[in-house]
């Protein structure tokens, strides 16, 4: 994932690099042009001086040719030859090996005519100048130096200013990350003097408030709906109890009544569990005390003895002393639901075992094939099609575990389902 601050830096760096690279030939051409211009001017000045001085000496012809041959030999950068006819001046640049410097050198040259005592001489004036490649190299080195300087400066300034400019954004982001719908309250966003950030924070606060309101409404709806259902359920139940008293019922009608009882019990159970879930989510049951798992299981398991016996299921407990800090009601619901779950899905003749120790609680029961783990703890998602539970028992278990940051996991091994709670 790219970082916001790097995003703004990158194009800046690329742009600078391009400009600096383009600047290298530009610098070179400029410098070269100035060089040549300046040297050419200088050469013409020398030519003028030479011609004027030689003429003003007013020497005889043979003295002039002596003087010129001396100059040819002694003065560097000059060479005189006698010319028959005048020809045009030419200025050019030339790179050649210089015996004196003992190296390849670049020269700026002017080939021109001067006339002394009526004799026409062709003069070559040369000036050693910096070689083209060395110039470019020097310019490039300076450019790279400045580029590095710029880059360092950009990174530093970007860090300093951008970080300061974007600080409110990062603060808001951190606050948002801490926001939990279940928490029931909005996160306070930092106050910003910058209009955009103030707007952003205002919108975010509004959004959080709206989410919270609809979340609350949804939970209240569940709770209210469950509450409102209690009375009609009570009426149906009592009507069935009364109908059972009728003297004209025959066996098949009794069976219908029995089925109706089963259905109404199931609705009652779902309703009760929905109400319970709503309450757990609303963070009720916040009172905590230290509870012994061993003691609680011993209290609970006798209620199940009948069921185990009538379904021919062997029940074993291997529970070490372990105490937990939790709400007693919630812990009881957790254990009950896991026990009921194990009991309900164990085939006749199977076994259910509870193990507690090493900060772990494991409910194991005989099973045929692994259950679909994805659906296991979701509401109304039956992991196995054969048995119809309320579809809420394990959802409640997960909700309770989440409340206390316990881990609930499922695995299937050696023909046994294992539900493990790690504290």
């Amino acid at each position: 994932m790219k970082k916001l601050l790097d995003q703004s830096l990158r194009p800046l760096v690329i742009y600078t690099l391009i400009i600096l690279i383009v600047s290298i030939p530009a610098y070179f051409l400029t410098i070269d042009w100035i060089w040549e211009n300046e040297l050419d001017k200088h050469h013409y000045a020398i030519r003028e001086k030479l011609e004027k001085r030689l003429t003003s000496l007013d020497l005889p012809d043979n003295a002039v040719s002596d003087m010129i041959s001396v100059l040819n030999k002694v003065q560097p950068g000059f060479s005189f030859t006698e010319a028959v006819a005048p020809s045009a001046d030419s200025s050019y640049t030339l790179i050649r090996f210089d015996t004196f410097m003992n190296d390849r050198e670049q020269f700026r040259c002017l080939m021109t005519d001067i006339r002394v005592n009526g004799t026409l001489f062709r003069v070559l004036i040369e000036t050693n100048m910096e070689e083209i490649d060395e110039t470019i190299l020097a310019i490039a080195a300076v450019t790279i130096f400045f580029f590095i300087l710029l880059l360092g400066g950009f990174v530093y300034i970007n860090r300093k200013t951008s970080l300061r400019v974007w600080r409110p954004f990062y603060d808001s982001l951190a606050s948002l990350q801490a926001f939990r719908l279940e928490g029931g309250k909005t996160e306070a966003l930092p106050v910003s003097q910058v209009a955009e950030f103030a707007d952003l924070n205002k919108s975010l606060t509004r959004l959080m408030e709206a989410s919270l309101a609809s979340y609350k409404q949804q939970k209240e709806f569940t709770e209210n709906a469950s509450h409102e259902l209690q009375t009609p359920l009570a009426i149906v139940k009592s009507k069935l109890d009364l109908l059972l008293q009728s003297r004209v019922l025959d066996q098949s009608q009794m069976q219908i009544l029995e089925d109706a009882y089963q259905a109404i019990n199931r609705v009652t159970r779902i309703n009760k569990n929905l109400l319970l879930l709503a309450k757990i989510e609303q963070a009720q049951f916040d009172e905590q005390q230290s509870i012994s798992i061993h003691g609680l299981l011993n209290e609970l398991s006798p209620q199940f003895t009948d069921r185990f016996e009538s379904s021919d299921i062997r029940f074993t407990q291997q529970v070490g002393e372990m105490t937990l800090q939790a709400n007693p009601m919630l812990l009881e619901i957790l254990l009950t639901n896991l026990l009921v779950n194990a009991l309900r899905y164990t085939p006749a003749g199977g076994e259910v075992s509870v193990y507690a120790g090493h900060r772990k609680l494991i409910f194991a029961n005989t099973g045929i094939s692994p259950l679909d783990e994805r659906n296991l703890f979701r509401r109304f998602a039956q992991a196995s099609p054969e048995h119809a539970g309320t579809g809420l028992g394990l959802a409640i278990v997960r909700e309770i575990c989440e409340r206390y940051n316990w881990q609930i996991s499922y695995d299937f091994d050696c023909g046994h389902h294992h539900f493990t709670v790690s504290f």
Binding site: H227, Q230, T231, L233, A234, I235, V236, K237, S238, K239, L240, D241, L242, L244, Q245, L249, D250, Q251, M254, Q255, L257, E258, Y261, Q262, I264, N265, R266, T268, R269, K272, L275, K279, Q284, Q303, F304, D306, R307, E309, S310, S311, M329, T336, V340, L343, R344, A388, T390, G393
Partner: protein, 224 residues
């Protein structure tokens, strides 16, 4: 014996009344808080069934009125609120029992029976039906003077049947009575059979009047 049913849902109140009236109970009704207050101030009842959410007020206030008057009426709260706190508050305020809606009518009848027994008979608490005698304080059952040894659950069942005399009781009401809150987590109530069968066998062996009848394999009735 007079029972006051304080319940704002007339259908439910009528059903409770219909079920109870077959058992020597005389039922009166109050559908609002004001009616309830008037009744408890004017008349005495063996047992009051009290709904907590009433039009015009909180049912718990009725308990305070009873307490202020020094009345000894038995009170069973019947409420849709099934949370621990409300239950505790109700019992602290002086209620004898708490039954969460929805409930089975036989369960309610058994609770009423037990409250009235406790309140009216104190220690001399015997149920006698011809040759059958149940001593509630020592939890001893005798038939023709000879002891019948029953498990805790069997005795519980026997009392449940007796408190619902001449009424047909369905299997799910029995299961709920025997295993309380966890009963509705199961669809299969076969374990009820085993207990009823054992109870019937023990009583029959002791020679009781064969009062417990099975109705079409799904319900039971205690005749008397």
């Amino acid at each position: 014996m007079k029972i006051l049913i304080i319940e704002d849902e007339p259908e439910l109140a009528a059903d409770i009344g219909a079920y109870l009236s077959a058992q020597d109970y005389l039922c009166e009704y109050a559908g609002t808080w004001a009616q309830a207050r008037e009744k408890v101030e004017l008349y005495r009842y063996e047992c009051i069934l009290l709904d907590l959410m009433l039009p015009g007020g909180d049912g718990l206030d009725i308990l305070d009125i009873l307490k202020a008057q020094g009345q000894q009426d038995g009170v069973i709260i019947i409420s849709a609120k099934n949370d621990y706190e409300t239950k505790i508050r109700g019992l602290h305020a002086g209620a004898d029992d708490y039954l969460a809606k929805p409930f089975h009518l036989p369960e309610l009848a058994a609770r009423i029976y037990s409250v009235i027994r406790r309140r009216s008979f104190g220690n001399q608490n015997n149920i006698v039906q011809n040759e059958l005698k149940v001593d509630l304080s020592s939890r001893v059952v005798t038939v023709n003077g000879s002891l019948v040894s029953l498990t805790r659950k069997e005795l519980d069942l026997l009392l449940f049947f007796i408190s619902n005399k001449n009424r047909v009781i369905g299997k799910s009401a029995l299961a709920e009575h025997l295993s309380g809150d966890i009963a509705d987590m199961f669809d299969n109530h076969d374990f009820v059979y085993a207990h009823v069968k054992n109870l019937k066998k023990k009583l029959t062996e002791a020679g009781y009047g064969n009062y417990l009848k099975t109705i079409y394999a799904t319900g039971y009735k205690w005749e008397g």
